[in-house]
């Protein structure tokens, strides 16, 4: 990754598609199933992750020459926890109804593998601006994945989008239950792998 320098746009694109958190790296799958039963919740969590990921990468990159390698993990943890607390308090104040539903998952952002991994793999070794681009790309990739998953789950499971009813009749109730979350994530992951192999000559997620 850090061997050949990439342009900033390439870094953002890499986070969004090439190393998409959920569909390509298959990490941070817990919120992708737990929160995606409605588009509103999915977008809210995605935005929170974009913020945390970008800021953590920026901060770690700024501090990278002062962190002793032996204690880097606790320091990453502290930085991540700090930003999560900020977004947690912000949402609790200004987005009360959504926070009531997904508050737990906002706090769980602390334990997201994707944020931790980017801090360790990228931000602690690269310059500030490219680290910000990388973090932003990864965050937006996560946000896009959340939007796609929750779009299908809300549409099929409730027949509505953002709470507005679109389809009448009997919705597929299973899609808003946890089992439907697994189905949606699995099928979409397979679909994106297929697109990648068919049109972009990729090797699929397992071949990365």
């Amino acid at each position: 990754m850090s061997l050949q320098p990439k342009s900033n746009w390439e870094l953002v694109k890499n986070g969004m598609f090439g190393e998409n958190t959920i569909f390509r790296m298959a990490i941070s799958l817990c919120p992708s199933i737990a929160v995606t039963n409605g588009l509103k919740n999915g977008v809210a969590l995605g935005v929170a992750v974009v913020f945390v990921q970008t800021m953590v990468n920026a901060t770690i990159s700024l501090m990278r020459n002062f962190i002793h390698p032996k204690i880097r993990i606790p320091i990453f943890m502290l930085v991540i926890a700090g930003y999560v607390t900020i977004i947690d308090l912000l949402m609790a104040t200004y987005a009360r109804p959504i926070y009531k539903e997904i508050g737990l998952y906002i706090q769980i952002i602390v334990a997201f593998a994707s944020i931790f991994a980017r801090a360790e793999v990228y931000a602690s070794k690269n310059k500030v601006w490219s680290s910000i681009c990388d973090g932003f790309g990864m965050g937006v990739g996560f946000l896009l994945a959340m939007i796609v998953i929750s779009f299908f789950r809300e549409l099929l499971g409730k027949g509505e989008l953002f709470g507005y009813s679109l389809i009448s009749g009997n919705p597929l109730l299973i899609m808003i239950l946890p089992a439907g979350g697994f189905l949606a994530v699995g099928l979409l992951m397979g679909f994106f792998n297929w697109v990648d192999m068919k049109f972009f000559g990729g090797k699929g997620a397992s071949g990365v």
């Binding site: 597929l172 109730l173 299973i174």
Partner: protein, 339 residues
């Protein structure tokens, strides 16, 4: 082999040298045929609607499998009859009054998600028809539990709806169930012939037993799974199913009603999703029976055969791995040898 070869010719060929007549196609189509009595009984009791649902399930299952292989540019495997069988079993698990899109969605889930995405026949972890039904039951809990009353006149266009015997047993108890049928003998008769409300294929115990007898005679299934399954259900129903304390239950009602006969003979014995070792098959059957009775007596659903078989399907590889048959002639390792 090749007895007419000249004596000086040396024939070299790859094993197996002696083949039986049985092929996948033959077994699958025989199972399809053995389900015919139950299909006829369902059409007799539930009218043309039953034929319509059954046909829709079969056609859509075969079509989805064919389209999937076409999409992947592979040779289609429709001819082996397993897609036909899945469609048939799925239809037998549906209530007669379902709207047309329910068999379609069920077939899609059963064929594409449960079977083909795992690699096709022989690679599926779960029984496709049962996953199809589980998906439908969770997705459409209301539509999937509207049971029409059987009419036995070939004309049941808009039949009255009622509860299944197990539903009545769960909600209102045994005395109420006997009252509905008149007497205990009438109840058993209804359960045997299939003159009761329920899914298409599960009502007539006699028709299913005829089909199972064919499979036994052909030796396509062995006694291990069905017997251990039904015996477990019987014992547990006798022990815990009664209202007057232990050992006062009526095992026959639990054995004959619901999908137990269909499940035990036709779905739990699916070659792909059950253990291959005989001892493992008995464990499999006991597990199915225990989970079935747990759901029927204590769970939220009146019927538990579907979830029981699916849950035990998960354990099939584990059972296979933990129960290895003893190798012929192998000596048990003692501690002395290990040193």
């Amino acid at each position: 082999m090749a007895t007419q070869a000249k004596s000086h010719e040396l024939i070299v060929s790859v094993s197996p040298h002696v083949r039986g007549k049985e092929t996948v196609e033959r077994i699958m189509w025989t199972v399809n045929l053995s389900l015919l009595p139950a299909v006829i009984m369902s059409i007799y009791y539930f009218g043309p609607r039953a034929a319509y649902v059954t046909g829709l399930c079969i056609v859509s299952c075969v079509l989805f499998e064919h389209l999937y292989w076409k999409f992947l540019d592979r040779k289609t495997t429709v001819g082996d009859g397993s897609a036909f069988l899945t469609g048939l079993l799925l239809a037998m698990n549906l209530p007669p009054s379902v709207p047309f899109y329910i068999p379609l969605i069920g077939s899609l889930v059963a064929m594409v998600i449960t079977k083909l995405l795992f690699g096709g026949l022989g690679y599926n972890v779960f029984n496709p028809a049962l996953i199809g039904r589980a998906f439908l039951l969770i997705s459409f809990p209301k539509l999937m539990t509207i049971w029409s009353e059987p009419t036995a006149k070939f004309i049941a266009m808009d039949a009255k709806t009622t509860a299944t015997p197990l539903g009545i047993l769960k909600e209102e108890g045994l005395t109420q169930l006997i009252e509905v049928f008149g007497s205990k003998a009438e109840l058993y008769k209804g359960l045997l012939y299939g003159n009761i409300a329920g899914s298409l294929g599960e009502t007539s115990a006699i028709a299913l037993l005829v089909g199972a007898a064919i499979l036994f005679m052909k030796r396509y299934i062995t006694w291990h799974i069905p017997l251990s399954y039904i015996a477990t259900v019987g014992v547990l129903a006798w022990a815990f199913g009664g209202d007057q304390g232990l050992f006062s239950g009526d095992p026959l009602i639990h054995i004959l009603s619901g999908g137990l006969i269909l499940g035990a003979f036709f779905m739990a014995t699916d070659y792909v999703t059950c253990p291959t070792v005989r001892k493992g098959q008995i464990i499999f059957g006991i597990g199915c029976g225990a989970i079935t009775m747990l759901i029927r007596l204590k769970g939220g659903f009146p019927e538990g055969v579907m979830f029981a078989i699916l849950l035990m399907n998960c354990f099939a590889p584990l059972i296979d791995r933990s129960i290895k048959p003893k190798m012929f002639g192998a000596v048990k390792e003692t501690k002395e040898q290990e040193k």
